[in-house]
Symmetry: C2
Subunit: 357 residues, 2 copies
Amino acid sequence: MTAMDYSPAAWAETEGPCLRGFDEPGEIASINGALALRPQIEHMVDQLWDQGFDRIFFMGIGGTYASAMQAEVYMRGRSALDTYAGNAAEYLTTGCRRLTDRSVVIYSSVSGNTKEIVSMVEKVKSQGARVVAFVDTPGSLLAQPGKWDHLVQYPKNEQLKFYMVANYLMYKNGEFPEYEAYNQEMEAGLAQGLANIEKISDRWAWSYAKAKAAFLKDHPDLPHYFIGGGNQWGATYSYAMCYWEEQMWIRTKSISCPEFFHGMQEIITADTPVTLFMGEDEQRPLAERVARFLPKVCGNYTVIDTKELPMAGISPQFRGSISHLMMHAVNNRVDAYLEHFLRHPLSIRRYYRQFDY
Amino acid sequence: MTAMDYSPAAWAETEGPCLRGFDEPGEIASINGALALRPQIEHMVDQLWDQGFDRIFFMGIGGTYASAMQAEVYMRGRSALDTYAGNAAEYLTTGCRRLTDRSVVIYSSVSGNTKEIVSMVEKVKSQGARVVAFVDTPGSLLAQPGKWDHLVQYPKNEQLKFYMVANYLMYKNGEFPEYEAYNQEMEAGLAQGLANIEKISDRWAWSYAKAKAAFLKDHPDLPHYFIGGGNQWGATYSYAMCYWEEQMWIRTKSISCPEFFHGMQEIITADTPVTLFMGEDEQRPLAERVARFLPKVCGNYTVIDTKELPMAGISPQFRGSISHLMMHAVNNRVDAYLEHFLRHPLSIRRYYRQFDY
């Protein structure tokens, strides 16, 4: 190491956008690696299909519960398959009579040892349901034999993996005739398209993060309000909770676009900080209603609209299915600069896994 | 009117708890009137049962969506019937392939003209599903012929009405053998029991509201955090949103007990105002975990535990099914005093139904 590594200059406020922490080849390889799981996922779903099932449960806790909600809302309007988003801790206490020995439970875990997920898997297996496990960490508890019926070990990209399962299920059920064309476009363009979004939103993200960090210094108590609907709701919920609250210790509130108009709207005034996530799925009109309302009562709002972002090679009708990933690409840039401006390493936790509770 | 009505003394801070705005005979009559709907509800469910159905959707928006979530979580662990909680605006945009011409949609509306509900009913009817309408306001749009297959007109008690439908559905499905004993207890003791809770919690509620109003003056930006699980989750979500945000313009954030540990916990410090709603259904252990955690990191938390409240004549095993109503009785008292201490009439709105958006 050189003296430079310790110099204040190395951590001084960047003079401008610098793609901080952006590993383009790494991110492209990560997404293409996830997309390359398709034969494995299809083979797995073929087996589940041949055995038959009554219902599909995307199950999670915290951020993975948000991803489960995204998969459910994606299939809700498209598929006649009985699909649920389940919360692991709720399942452990309330249970679910509709989850039977003919059901399929799909989950994803980064650590491979999340408390609620480990217990959920045990209970689900004891009830005879089949378990599809996406586990990021090889050798972890949840990757052990006996803990799953189908195991996919590959890091990150949980939302994409769930959608890949959903897409093939709908294809099998005759609900996705464009499946092959869809995958050709994704496999050719998704990874580079998302990397491009990080690059072109870097300048904006730097400004947004700088402004937010300054505002936070003056208003440490004030929560930041995030609003989103459709597959942006899972993105909104988990971004507010898992990134700003958990990783940055910033107060937030998230609300879905339709629910915003039934209570929360009343506490928005001229200076309230609000960010609206607009995607391109069927619930976009609900976000547009929020976008029309906000300027009338608030002068401190931001709209991030994926429709303004390019995705070369992706047909317009497919953009809705990935607009939460496009939003994630923008937010990656915001996080990189907030970490810097707040001088708050995203990896530290006050309480989580720090002591028993 | 006398001069007294205009004197500052008439609106001066009450010197102590005074059961402000409490109409005991009125509240008892309201609940007993709802319970007396049972023959009508049973007759209606008998007809639906004889016709057959594939799925049941409790559908709502805002506060009624919260009640739908309560009905769904109540049945989730008890009933094999396919039951969903649906959001009307999401249904209007995303749709739901699982909602068919053999489905039953149950909703409740106070005004009888809520925008999203009116459109949802039209769409549901056009798809051939049957509509069970609980409408508070006679003569309103949603009470018109052609808008429903079954109409129950009776004011308030939406959560109770939904549970009465759920209870009889589960009875019909062989999942509630104690149905008659349960109803005998409720019809004999629920109304007076809830009125008693208002009376015995009045003193505590006065102190809580006084302290909260004072804290709010010093910390107007800081949100109040509400946490609850099981059928308290709907109560927590709607209490924070429909009462504190909408009716009092106080910042809040609500989170479910299990999700609290996956992000939001990190922004709780010694002075953060938190209220935990503890009920007595199957998810009570999830609230107990929050109750064990909070004192370690926070000195400004309140736990409202329905277990500490009496309900004469109600068997212990039935209390979980009404603990959200018990919590509501406590919160009625809090609202009555907050309205006073904040000098904020609960009926006023900044934006809702004030202009088009």
